[in-house]
Symmetry: C2
DNA sequence: CTGTTAGCGCATTCAA
DNA sequence: TTGAATGCGCTAACAG
């Protein structure tokens, strides 16, 4: 009995028509070299005659025990996720490995708490990659509960999931030491601290209250660095941006620069934010690094163009690493390399 | 017999342990309202005890006859596809509808001719959306051959696939009439004409030689417009960019502006290209629209910021329309609205 | 509300 | 090189 809606042609029908067994027909599509040229021809002719659309992927997945796809869970709506060049580079790395391994890449954007978990559970994928998200994200638990391999990029760490990323705390400490060196009043331009995404300037916030793991680690590292150069964390102003874009960086830096005493060193959490900060400094006639030292993060194009000291890391390589972890069954965390690139924005 | 590699727990095992039939267990997960609270509890407890990961998506897909995912075929590598803001808006539209309908979105980037076709065939999806591609793209034929619904955005049109987009020729003619009005020597800054993507300036190219359907239609419309204002197409210079970015727009426009006689009207195929063109005009001290009239396409943020006359269309809406076509089984083409937005760059 | 039956379409296993 | 049997894990359809 065929599905009425699509009058789907099956392998068995093709085999019948070709006068061979179902297995010969199956082999013709899956392992053609195991079939004689004569049989192959008969099967292909029958397939053509019947309009056979090829082996059904779901049936094949069930039988083979592999879905042939890898799930990528984005912590936010596509519009925001794809606007982040780092996220795009990461996805490109995932896509590279998927293509190389003959897998598809299934995107699971997060939209609303309840339905998201259901979609994660229901996705026909061989494993999940989570793009950096918040502590306690329900989709992470849902992914782990499927017993399929899970890799988290950036964080949060979780039992049952491996972690891929860089040592954000160490990198933040290192770049903090560079940018804060010789400064009187260090400051930070930060990503959001919690999913409330409130833009605000706060003095010496407790990093442990930050629910985004990557941001938390970076803040911890910058706190370390402030200590290293003899600054008091409680006096360090942290301008929290609501989103990672140049405009926010501009606005929040302008706020920072209007304060008295004025900060003279600015560690920002991305080159995007840094580029906005540069514009804000320009606007009030402050020079880098003479008046204010500045650093970014990511080594994006814009950092090169504007001469911003930054932390270089390869998101593309990290994306590829995540995909390989799942497709090759690695079972350990992976910490990627990073490097400080010194340019004119700092000493 | 359980799969050894994962010692997968099945619904039947859960049912056994709970002391109910498999169907009661199945209903507990798929249609919980059809099961008494008592049974539901027993089943959930058994599931917990056994570490059941939830119904297997592939098995469910096979049984239900639907993969629960929608395939999006990108004509190029992710790196390029995602760098295009229009492509991203389109994908966001697709994602919106997928989420709303409880479907996943499976991305199939094109990488190498042979393997791509295989991956398209093997993808467990309920239908395909093709992001604008070239005439005769093998992946389009492969998608159609699966007998699953196929929607092409932009083009090429194909038997067995529906088309979604705007009337590019009509829109191009309309904006061409605006920008070419009163010009002595109209010119065009174009997308690539073929997949060779050669950057070059050519006079009055034959649009029929263009293998990218969207570009072809726009060139045809601009040809119409040139005729409408009494210009000779054979004298219209077309600067063909190799990619859709501001830098290329800048370079090619600079080339155009160095010619004698110098064009005094510039129809560009995107706001990205237009923004580069604006920079090129600035660089040589030419004013818009006095010295050179200029138009873009898409009504992106940058067009608003730079005051560029443009063609407004909603890629997001078109992405959503593509997804709806597949998920709701519409069987007709869909032509979206467009509109000329007049700003200071033209008269 | 619960259970029985009967496959969905394919590929692994083993025998011929 | 080919074929027969079997069941991957689940759920529609129908009885009870």
């Amino acid at each position: 009995m065929r599905k009425s809606f699509s009058s789907r042609v099956t392998l068995a029908q093709v085999a019948d028509r070709a006068g061979v067994s179902t297995m010969t027909a199956s082999y013709t599509f899956s392992r053609p070299e195991r079939v004689s040229a004569a049989s192959r021809e008969k099967v292909l002719a029958a397939a053509r005659a019947l309009g056979y659309g090829g082996p059904d992927p779901s049936a094949r997945s069930l039988r083979r025990g592999s879905a042939g796809a890898l799930g990528v869970i984005l912590g936010e709506h596509l519009t925001y996720a794809f606007d982040d060049p780092q996220a795009r580079a990461f996805l490109a790395g995932v896509a590279d490995v998927c293509a190389e391994q003959g897998h598809a890449m299934t995107i699971l954007p997060v939209v609303d708490a309840g339905a998201d978990v259901a979609r994660v559970r229901a996705a026909a994928v061989d494993g999940y990659i989570l793009w950096t998200t918040e502590d306690g994200a329900p989709v992470l638990d849902a992914a782990i509960a499927t017993h399929r391999p899970v890799v988290v990029h950036g964080g949060p760490a979780a039992a049952g999931a491996r972690l891929v990323g860089i040592d954000n705390r160490a990198a933040a400490r290192a770049i903090g030491q560079v940018v804060f060196a010789g400064a009187t009043l260090p400051a930070v331009v930060s990503f959001p601290l919690t999913s409330a995404r409130r833009a605000q300037v706060v003095a010496g916030p407790d990093p442990h209250g930050v629910t985004f793991p990557v941001t938390r680690e970076r803040l911890l590292g910058l706190q370390d660095a402030a200590r290293d150069v003899g600054a008091r964390w409680s006096e360090v102003l942290v301008a929290v941006c609501s989103t990672n874009d140049a405009r926010e960086g501009h606005t929040m830096t302008a706020d920072l620069m209007s304060r008295t005493p004025r900060p003279d060193a600015l560690a920002t959490m991305s080159d995007e934010l840094a580029s906005g900060a540069v514009a804000a400094l320009d606007a009030v006639g402050l020079r880098m690094p003479r008046d204010v030292a500045l650093t970014g993060w990511d080594d994006a194009e814009v950092a090169h163009r504007l001469g911003i000291t930054t932390v270089a890391q390869s998101m593309r390589e990290q994306g590829a690493a995540c995909a390989r972890q799942i497709l090759t069954g690695t079972t350990s965390d992976f910490s990627d390399r990073w490097q400080i690139i010194r340019r004119g924005s700092s000493n």
